[in-house]
Symmetry: C2
Subunit: 370 residues, 2 copies
């Protein structure tokens, strides 16, 4: 059986309060006493029982992260970023996956999210305005990640879906392409990632005076490589001419890339291709993939920050906050080099402004980083 405070206090010949004082770095303990206690702790290999501590303190120092699925590279990298940010604040992270299914998303949110954690980071996927109440009812402190969906119920750190997607589309338009495919749409969706990114795509087309054509929008329910490949194949079968592909995330783009190459298209010469997320793999595909860096690390950092504030507050006094994290356009080999007329690299305010961010100005055709 594990040692308790009592065991330690008995061995050290002090009361449990003194042991507790030593453990919690209470300064007013005589040094000789402290040494005796520390020796006893070492001897018994004592570790505090965290269940007892959290029962008493009301804190677990664990937060949960609710995401669709870890095997999606974007979420794995997000989880990694969240865990680093959490660790810096002494928090552990309990990850819950809910898959791509609305019912299971609701069920995880309702039944598992608040279990023995101080707070929740929730990367919304399938819920929308109609679920506003479900979200609002969660009593554990919670911060939403990624989408900009719910008007107000909770703190919210969003990526700039519309602006990022618009910038991506503008990049291929700036390269002179006019027949631009969009891959990954969710028909009917307005405020999810797919809806927002489609909106950005349409904005860019409109701004460039290119007519929108329904046939150039290919749906994909989930956003895995297989879906990108399938969508690309489906479009090729229509026989329509095209010269660029805007994929709503990188894995879709990489799946599409494979099919394009099989079919004999050269990227970027025949078809320009751009993704969204800036996952590690995009640095090493052949060709490397142009993409939008949504600011994953900053999303994670600010979300943890916000969550910690919520946890530390007694009640829901402050209004929910909404933070939009800046994005960057990352120009790599899969889009033809463009040196002007591209949206700037930072945030919505700069979209359409002059100048290029560091990564976009550099040599447009960079090899894999060393």
């Amino acid at each position: 059986m594990a040692a308790t405070l009592h065991d330690v206090s008995r061995l050290a010949g002090v009361s449990i309060k003194t042991v507790s004082n030593v453990i919690n770095d209470y300064p007013y303990v005589r040094d000789s006493t402290r040494q005796r206690v520390l020796a006893a702790i070492a001897e018994l290999d004592y570790t505090p029982n965290l269940s007892a501590r959290s029962l008493r303190s009301g804190r677990t120092n664990v937060i949960s992260l609710l995401i669709p699925e870890l095997r999606n590279a974007y979420f794995a990298e997000l989880a990694d970023s969240v865990m680093r940010a959490a660790r810096e604040r002494g928090l552990s992270v309990l990850i819950e996956q809910f898959g791509n299914d609305r019912a299971s998303e609701l069920s995880v949110l309702r039944n598992r999210s608040g279990r023995m954690v101080d707070g929740i980071l929730y990367s919304v996927l399938g819920l929308d305005e109609s679920d506003r109440d479900t979200i609002a009812e969660v009593s554990t402190p919670m911060v939403l990640l990624g989408e900009r969906i719910f008007n107000g119920p909770k703190d919210h750190v969003t990526m700039q879906n519309v602006e990022g997607s618009r910038a991506a589309t503008e990049l291929v338009l700036a390269g002179g392409r006019r027949r631009v495919l969009a891959i990954g749409a969710h028909p009917g969706e307005v405020i999810g990632s797919a809806g927002l990114r489609l909106a950005g795509y349409r904005e860019a087309l409109a701004a460039a005076g290119v007519a929108f054509d329904e046939r150039f929008v290919v749906p994909a329910g989930t956003w895995h490589r297989a879906d990108g490949a399938r969508a690309m194949r489906a479009f090729l079968e229509t026989g329509l001419a095209f010269d660029a592909v805007v994929a709503f995330n990188d894995t879709l783009a990489l799946g599409a890339l494979r099919v394009l190459q099989e079919a004999g298209y050269r990227v970027p010469e025949d078809v320009a291709l751009i993704g969204f997320d800036d996952i590690d793999e995009t640095h090493y595909s052949m060709p490397t993939l142009s993409t939008i860096d949504p600011g994953r690390d900053e999303i994670a950092r600010r979300a943890v920050e916000l969550l910690v504030r919520r946890i530390d507050e007694d009640a829901d006094t402050r209004e929910p906050e909404e933070i939009a994290v800046p994005f960057r356009v990352i120009q790599r080999e899969s889009t033809p080099p463009v040196l002007t007329g591209v949206p700037a690299d930072r945030g919505a305010a700069a979209v359409g402004a002059a100048g290029l961010g560091a990564e976009a100005v550099g040599p447009a055709l960079v090899g894999p980083e060393a």
Copy 2:
């Protein structure tokens, strides 16, 4: 403030024991009483305080998973598999990353691993026989994953590193290649993944009568795409002729692939390439990547199973178990089609035996799956 058993019992006009009985599905509760209690629970939106429950019961129903890093696709997929297996048994998973640094691996193992969890799954990376005691001393039930390193201190679910790597090397040898590069070695290492996979590579060469040549073994400290690219570039600079690459994991292979293609090599015509892990990306690279499927899902399932057994047992009565999970050779486009003389698809016993697994017999040049 959240409602407690007392609040519920007061509202329902029963004792807390009765409420507890209802919650824990104790059968001998009068139905009318049960209804009253359930109504009170719903009204107060009561959820049990899990800290209190686990203080009392000694169980948290959380296990931790210690891995190097989530952004490595293999570990993300492993974590996914572990979480699914855990969920089936009502367990949540708390993930801790320790990076690629030995000191932090030790620190995570010693300081964070047993915090408020019932058991630990630990994917060993940098520790070896010299750390046997550190491992043995962990008092929380623990199962080791992946490597076959520690002789005995704990239950252990391993992948077949030597046999898998041998089979991978045999696959390219069977295709007639003789100048076979190995990428990802850790000089001096014997019992880590790198050491074991190098051993398998050497076994295969020896069995085929190909002389081992130090110059064909390229080290790579970590196993990311960047390392594979760097290693490949370093080897190309030697100017040595070669016709095949055995990479010790898939990301190394994909990094190397990129460099090979930049340098104008055709894969598999000029250079055959095979990885290890069977991550999702290998289905969609151009060409698709031949690899070894180490049985990730089964490793996760059996490890969780073993861990639950350990948790349920009172003491360390049973001897530590060691389970070696079967692997499969997955032949895709990056190695030339081979229809005979390849190791069979299942496990060490079958290595070198006749016959081919389903995936290896199929059309050697398959496109991305639909």
